[in-house]
């Protein structure tokens, strides 16, 4: 009350501020995303069911052999590949591996990102400087080239791929978690918990973590999406696990084992389209979460 003369403000009334205009606008923008989101959710569950119960959908076991290089027919809807596997069955079974790589990677990187972000945001000071400095340093190192050399030295296996991808893609999560933690730690309930003498660990787990979930979810989904693309790319270079045929490996084989030269579009287009669609559905869900987060924040501002 510097001014002295001021009419008091009453709660719960029309806000004639510019922020309100912005608010309306963002709602509109979210609405456009809404539509996609439902489609994304539908697609995602479709792929999830494929991944969980491939035997229900695949016409043959993925390792069963028929005549090789068959074009599409009633028996083999997408034909067969160089060693006579049914491509449709391979595609259905590939969903599990591709999605597993994505989600496992996202789990690892979310965990690391959460730990680093939480510590850095909660303790602040020197720890924050060090951890964020480290994050910045790691952020600059180009991931895919690094994975390429590590992958080249190690024998290709899906687990090393997951581990290396997971260890290298946590930076953006750490940053988001940190900024959110900085915000939450100033909230009344965290302060009161500190006053009551709860340990830092307890406060971080029971007071701060539940409030981080809604910023973690979109990041988790987007990390999954980008990990799936990375997996597909690395598999294409022959750094994938050939014993577990993901969509990326299928594409790679189609390219290196004659599918492309023979113009067998039914071999190389379906896995690529599957990757794109699956990644898109996951990313859409991530965007959806992000939109909801935005809304919550706006809702809090308005009060």
């Amino acid at each position: 009350m510097k001014k002295g003369i001021c009419i008091q403000k009453s709660p719960g009334q029309w806000k004639d501020s510019i922020a309100h205009y912005l608010n309306l606008d963002i709602r509109k923008y979210k609405k456009t995303f809404k539509k996609f989101n439902r489609g994304g959710l539908f697609l995602f569950f479709f792929f999830l069911i494929l991944a969980l119960f491939p035997s229900l959908f695949a016409p043959y076991p993925p390792t069963e052999r028929f005549v090789s290089y068959e074009p599409p027919s009633a028996a083999h809807l997408l034909g067969t590949n160089d060693i006579g596997n049914d491509i449709l069955s391979e595609l259905v079974y590939g969903a599990r591996i591709s999605m597993m790589v994505g989600f496992a990677t996202a789990c690892i990187s979310t965990f690391i990102g959460l730990m680093i972000g939480l510590c850095s945001g909660y303790f602040r000071g020197t720890i924050d400087e060090l951890l964020m400095g480290f994050t910045d340093v790691v952020l600059i190192i180009p991931k895919i080239p690094l994975i390429i050399i590590i992958g080249a030295f190690l024998h290709p296996s899906i687990w090393t791929l997951i581990l290396v991808l997971g260890l290298l893609s946590w930076e953006s999560i750490a940053r988001v978690v940190r900024s959110k933690t900085l915000q939450i730690r100033e909230a009344g309930y965290v302060k009161s918990a500190r006053c009551m003498g709860f340990s830092s660990f307890h406060i971080m787990v029971s007071d701060i973590f539940p409030n981080l979930i809604h910023v973690l979810m979109p990041k988790f989904m987007l990390t999954t999406a980008s990990a799936m693309i990375s997996e597909a790319s690395l598999s294409f270079l022959g750094l994938g696990d050939t014993s577990m045929k993901s969509w990326g490996i299928m594409l790679s084989f189609a390219f290196s084992r004659g599918g492309f030269i023979r113009d067998m579009w039914w071999w190389y287009i379906p896995p690529g389209v599957c990757i794109a669609l699956c990644v898109m559905s996951i990313a859409m869900i991530g965007f959806g979460f992000e939109g909801r987060d935005e809304k919550e924040r706006r809702g809090m501002d308005a009060e």
Binding site: K2, I5, Q13, Y21
Partner: protein, 347 residues
């Protein structure tokens, strides 16, 4: 004196287009301003006062047609004989900044952070300058040769703009304007930005200047500075001013007439001395009593949300002298010896 701006039966409503939000009834439109009428004469200062949230700023934005697309504006806003609400966006854009200008409440946010002060001050000339200057320079141009003209004109143009900006900056109290023109808003204090903003808005000498809560967030010294600046501006340029504020003392010193708003409508219009000395409407009285120098007595209750206004007089739930009909009928704004009041109890 001629009427410069006449607002008649202005209704502004907003459509919150949320479909899936928790409170379904919010879907309906909210009327922020209802049946608002007032007029401003040339060179006059009209102040619009009221609590924050009563729709003052919405009026300002409605006059400039700056409201977002979700809003519906009805009524008539007549500016120099033309109805602004019937103009298309292009015609309106030509008017904005040249004939009507606005000063926003947050100067540091209203200036673009990535352009220099000089650039932003020169912008009004760049946007509106062409027509004016063309007419003035056409006569001179005829005498000169084609190519020479092109180059010379540009230089000359820039020089005249520059000298005008320098002059305007000196007027608002900057001793070395050339230095400040290279600065960016984030390098300057809020008070300095306020002066830059005022300069930018008045540099084309508009007929009407709208000041939307110019004193908000400034400390006392800055407010008195601002007051002097606005006074100077009025004396020198003789433009009309629509002053929107909740700072009653500030308004009292500047305004020629004061309109008090409550819950989206005007409840009293009067000259400042008569309003402050003998307020008629119970709300105005309550407002004045809530000032620190008058005992700091707050009005009981709070103003109603615009989405659910009370029936009858909008002030009746908080009114100390309400009667039965106040709860049922909505009073009209009645004019009597140059002042108007929206209350049954005042004839």
């Amino acid at each position: 004196m001629n009427t410069l701006l006449e607002v008649k039966d202005l209704v502004v409503s907003f459509h919150g287009n949320e479909t899936e939000n928790k409170n379904e009834d919010k879907n309906e439109s909210v009327t922020a301003v209802s049946c608002l009428s007032f007029s401003i004469r040339e060179k006059e200062t009209l102040a619009l006062v009221g609590e924050s949230g009563c729709g003052k700023s919405v009026v300002a934005h409605a006059i400039m047609r700056l409201l977002p697309q979700e809003s519906r504006v009805k009524g008539v806003i007549k500016f120099r004989g033309k109805n602004l609400l019937e103009m298309n966006e292009k015609e309106m854009a030509k008017l904005r900044g040249k004939e009507i200008s606005i000063i926003f409440q947050n100067p540091s946010l209203a200036l673009n952070p990535v352009y220099s002060i000089g650039h932003q001050l020169a912008e009004p000339f760049k946007i509106h300058g062409q027509e004016k200057r063309r007419a003035a320079e056409e006569r001179k141009e005829e005498k000169r040769k084609e190519k020479r003209k092109e180059k010379g004109k540009k230089k000359e143009k820039e020089n005249t703009i520059l000298s005008k900006i320098v002059e305007a900056l000196k007027r608002v109290g900057f001793s070395n304007p050339h230095e400040y023109m290279g600065y960016y808003p984030s390098w300057c204090s809020g008070g300095m930005n306020q002066r830059f903003l005022i300069t930018a808005s008045t540099i084309l000498d508009p007929f009407l200047l709208i000041a939307d809560e110019p004193s908000k967030g400034l400390d006392r010294d800055r407010v008195s500075e601002l007051e002097n600046e606005l006074k100077n501006l009025k004396e020198m340029n003789e433009n009309a001013l629509l002053l929107i504020s909740h700072d009653l003392g500030f308004v009292r010193r500047l305004a020629d007439r004061v309109a008090v708003m409550y819950a989206g409508e005007i409840i009293e219009i009067a000259g400042p001395s008569s309003l402050f000395e003998s307020p008629h409407h119970p709300y105005t009285r309550g407002l004045l009593n809530s000032l620190p120098e008058n005992g700091f007595v707050p009005i009981p209750g709070s103003s109603p949300p615009l989405s659910s206004l009370p029936a009858g007089c909008r002030f009746h739930p908080r009114c100390p002298i309400k009667e039965k009909r106040c709860m049922q009928e909505h009073p009209e704004l009645k004019e009597n010896n140059g002042r108007a009041v929206r209350c049954f109890l005042w004839p």
